[in-house]
């Protein structure tokens, strides 16, 4: 297995293996035994209706919720892995990141270097160089000294990405990375993630509400419903009408376009209202 | 400690008392007949009617307790509060003059209650229970203290005893003062109420007693009426003022003594400390305006004599 040899060599390459992950929230079961393997460099898009468990699954992988079952990264069990080491392997971008108003962009990105510091977090010149380089890569060098409260939504989106990349972790978890962006910014952001994924050989796991974008960018799609994995495969395989009708409780039409892949069109149940 | 607390209220009452003290001294010729009840007693807060000679008096004022026993009304005292520790035979209870509950007092079935502190609506509650209350706060002057004796004498049927006591006090004070050599002008003292340097000015009751002996409080420099006569002094100032004598009125509450004072950093540079011109007073004696003021005065006078001899 590629994953285990890499682990033996001590090189992180970003293979994720989940086995029977179960998550409880009080009395309800949020994830009911999810098992899957994610290959290094893959982009897995997790889709599903509200409450299906998409965010929960992501948070389980990020070790932000308590779960039963096993999570292995590059063949290594993560249960007893120290948090700092884990943070060098998995970077997590939440749906609503907090942006302290008076922090400067460069300092915000530098936070991503925390897992590479000692306990009391003294940063080195190398850390600062890397943060600056990331800002540059994301076309934000001119914003380096700007405070977060003076930046637009799109800029903040890229900034969070920069911070996550600063962790230099091979696995990138994105929870609804485009929810606050307009259409143009959405495409921009996802293109950027794809570029970086290929550039740096990142494994990307994202949750996305927009099924069309999910189909366009993720190589593999996992459909969750009520805490269970009900479909797993390429977008063509997963995004078919009956499946979506059933699990999203909505009638859809699927268009397959040569250039743009799969387009999911929701159907209105009633025709547009007319005034008589 | 008690008078210190009532300092501010004492100041406010000064106005009322000034009017009253006039009527007190003009209270008519002393009657040699047996006390006749019902009695209407004049107080600064109005007239208190006492139906018959009280036989179950409750005193919630340590000074009043001492006065009652001094004028001969001790046998009529049924209960005293927990601070009334003199005379020892007074029937002490756990009543507290500062948080007296009308119910708790009523349980003793008193026919007269004496307080030196009047929390809100206490007297009104007592009035509802038809229990007469005499409110005698800390006396700001000797004249007011004497008037309190007279009032208690009238209220308890011991006017004769009260007059005798007042006469005795006056003569004792006069003799103590005259037998003490006149202090040289500029003789000062530092009167310590607590180890955080609260003191008394010459305008307070104790300050006035000390003035009789020709002594001036260093606290006067702050303003004679500062904080009602009980200002907190700065220790630098105390050192520099270099008082002739030091009187410690916090020996019981706070273990102050000549030794502790000498041990205070910097205090050994004061001449009073270096020459041990420190007098330790009993906290209670030094804070009450009852019959033991002559004890206090005598103690200070003896101390002054010994210092000069």
């Amino acid at each position: 297995m590629v994953a285990t040899t890499a682990a033996n060599e001590g090189v992180a390459i970003g293979a994720v293996e989940l086995r029977d992950i179960v998550v409880h929230y009080d009395k309800t079961i949020a994830l009911n035994g999810i098992s899957l393997r994610i290959a290094p460099g893959e982009w897995l898009g997790i889709i599903g209706a509200n409450g299906a468990g998409k965010s929960t699954l992501l948070r389980a992988i990020a070790r932000l919720v308590r779960y039963r079952g096993s999570l292995k990264i590059d063949g290594r069990d993560t249960e007893s892995m120290p948090r700092r080491e884990f943070a060098r392997m998995v970077a997590y971008v939440p749906q609503d990141p907090a942006f302290p108003a008076q922090m400067r962009a460069i300092d915000y990105v530098a936070l991503g270097r925390t897992p590479h510091h000692g306990y009391f977090g003294a940063e080195s010149a190398q850390d600062r160089e890397r943060s600056a380089a990331l800002l540059d890569r994301l076309d934000m060098s001119h914003l380096a000294l700007r405070q977060l409260d003076a930046m637009s939504g799109g800029e903040l989106q890229r900034l969070v990405l920069a911070r996550a990349l600063a962790q230099e972790a091979p696995i990138l978890l994105l929870d609804e990375p485009t929810s606050a962006l307009d259409l143009g910014r959405r495409v921009e952001a996802l293109e950027l993630v794809d570029e970086l994924r290929l550039e740096r050989r990142l494994t990307v796991v994202s949750t996305l509400h927009d099924l069309t974008l999910a189909a366009q960018f993720a190589e593999r799609v996992l459909l969750l419903s009520k805490g269970c994995a009900v479909a797993d495969g390429t977008p063509e395989v997963v995004l078919i009408e009956e499946t979506l009708n059933r699990h999203f409780d909505v009638k859809v039409e699927i268009l397959r376009s040569e250039e743009n892949g799969i387009v999911v069109i929701p159907r209105r149940t009633k025709s547009k209202g007319h005034r008589d | 400690m008690k008078m210190f607390r009532s300092g501010l209220s004492a100041l406010l009452l000064l106005i009322g008392v000034v009017f009253w003290s006039g009527s007190a001294s003009a209270g008519g010729p002393p009657s040699t007949a047996a006390p006749h009840f019902p009695m209407k007693v004049q107080t600064p807060n109005g007239v208190v009617t006492i139906k018959s000679q009280p036989r179950a008096i409750i005193s919630l004022s340590a000074s009043a307790t001492e006065m009652l026993y001094a004028i001969g009304a001790g046998s009529q005292v049924k209960a005293v509060d927990k601070y009334s520790n003199y005379p020892p035979k007074a029937p002490m209870t756990s009543l507290d003059g500062f948080s007296a509950s009308a119910e708790a007092i009523a349980k003793y079935k008193p026919d007269l209650v004496i307080v030196s502190y009047d929390p809100a609506s206490f007297r009104a509650q007592m009035a509802k229970l038809r229990i007469p209350v005499i409110y005698d706060p800390a006396a700001p002057t000797l004249a007011v203290a004497y008037a309190q004796y007279i009032r208690l004498g009238r209220a308890t049927g011991h006017l004769q005893g009260a007059l005798k006591e007042v006469k005795y006090l006056k003569s004792r004070i006069t003799s103590i003062v005259s037998s003490t050599p006149q202090a040289t002008p500029g003789t000062t003292y530092y009167w310590e109420l607590d180890p955080t340097y609260y003191s008394v000015t010459s305008s307070t009751f104790m300050g006035q007693l000390m003035s009789l002996l020709g002594l001036k409080s260093i606290a006067d420099a702050v303003g004679v009426n500062s904080n009602g006569g009980y200002p907190q002094l700065n220790s630098e100032f105390i050192l520099q003022a270099n008082p002739t004598y030091i009187f410690l009125a916090d020996s019981k509450c706070c273990q102050a003594s000549a030794q502790t004072v000498t041990a205070r950093p910097g205090w050994s540079t004061m001449t009073a400390v270096a020459n041990n011109r420190i007098l330790t007073l009993d906290d209670d004696v030094a804070s009450r305006w009852g019959p033991r003021i002559v004890t206090l005065l005598q103690q200070v006078a003896n101390f002054l004599k010994s210092q000069q001899g």
Binding site: A87, P100 | M1, D96, Y197, V222, Q232, S235, Q255, P265
Partner: protein, 362 residues
């Protein structure tokens, strides 16, 4: 023809930042506040109800420096005033002020709440209870008081943590704060009860609660110095971690930090230091909230700056406040807690109004 501004914006090229764009610099603010502290210390030592000239003061101070062999011609009393009475008071004010301000900044960092102050988890109520018990107990007034106050403060916060950690799934900030409110209420109720039952001692209890340094001695300084030094060292060491916590506990987790452990360590250190400080000074309020905010408004919100600068500014602030406390009604004293509120409040309002209104506080 001028290109439209929209087109110009689209074609804006990225400007490369220098590879070593610096982190938030704390050096200048620290230097400035240190110099201010030095100045304030000298001024405060030179002024007092006992009118001593500046040369006398400096002479006495020099005479006490170990290697100079300088002899002061001041009288024994003047020397005692400066060295035994005034200087320990100034030093104690500095220690207490620095600890309260640093503790306040630390609590604000760990609870991400601008109103958090070092008394949040009950240390004030606990110290108040300890002090009250010591005052009304009829034995050993002077020496027992600081120890009782310290023990009370530490006990209260410990109880808060025990209660708070048991009542939530994870010991989260809100649950601990609520536990702190409850514990503080209980301790305050007990304290008030004890105080009322010993109404004859009302005055010293209130005096302590209002805060005062009027009886400061070198003994008090040596008593609290180890706690303040250790506490400050631990807290300052955590300043970068507090910066990371600014993005929230969840995100901090994903960056490899354990927010619970950071919170516990910071709270423990701040509590020890604060309990020590109030044990000798009484409950001086206001410093822990206002000083860190003043620092944020005038410098930077990063804890790398706020923590050390708050430490130095808190010292200056309280030294000046104490100077007022002993000079306003000289030779009488004004309670220190009253002064800190009276001078701090309006000053803070002034600074608040002069800054841009949208500047955040965390």
């Amino acid at each position: 023809m001028n290109p439209s501004p929209c087109r110009a914006a689209r074609s804006r090229r990225a400007v490369r930042t220098s590879a070593t764009s610096s982190p938030v610099s704390a050096r200048t603010p620290i230097l400035v506040t240190a110099v201010v502290l030095l100045g304030v210390t000298i001024i405060s030592t030179a002024i007092g109800p006992a009118n001593l000239s500046l040369t006398t003061v400096i002479g006495v101070l020099l005479a006490h420096l170990p290697f100079l062999h300088f002899h002061s011609s001041a009288s024994a009393m003047d020397q005692a005033i400066i060295w035994q009475i005034r200087l320990p008071r100034v030093v104690l004010a500095g220690l207490v002020g620095s600890m309260l301000a640093l503790g306040g900044a630390s609590y604000q960092g760990v609870f991400r709440n601008p109103l958090a102050d070092p008394y949040l988890l009950g240390v004030a109520a606990g110290a108040g209870l300890g002090a009250t018990i010591a005052i009304v107990t009829p034995s050993g007034f002077a020496e027992l008081l600081p120890l009782a106050a310290f023990a009370g403060g530490v006990a209260a916060v410990t109880l808060t943590y025990v209660v708070g950690a048991k009542t939530a799934r994870s010991s989260s900030s809100p649950s601990i704060i609520l536990a702190g409110v409850a514990v503080a209420a209980i301790f305050t109720a007990i304290q008030t009860n004890v105080q009322q039952q010993h109404a004859a001692d009302l005055q010293p209890v209130y005096s302590w609660i209002l805060g005062s340094l009027s009886v400061a001695t070198w003994w008090d300084v040596t008593l609290i110095l180890p706690y303040v030094v250790v506490s400050a060292a631990v807290l300052l060491a955590h300043r970068r971690l507090l910066d990371v916590l600014r993005i929230g506990e969840q995100e901090a987790f994903t960056l490899g930090i354990n927010p619970n452990r950071v919170r516990l360590t910071v709270v423990a250190a701040a509590t020890l230091g604060t309990a020590a400080a109030v044990s000798v000074s009484g409950l001086i309020g206001f410093v822990g909230i206002i000083v860190p905010h003043l620092v944020r408004l005038t410098t930077n919100a990063s804890y790398r700056v706020v923590m050390p600068v708050s430490l130095l500014s808190g010292a200056s602030f309280l030294i000046l406040a104490d100077l007022c406390a002993r000079m306003i009604e000289a030779p009488g004293e004004v309670p220190l807690g009253v002064v800190t509120a009276f001078i701090g409040g309006p000053f803070f309002i002034l600074v608040l109004r002069s800054r841009r209104s949208h500047q955040g506080v965390l």
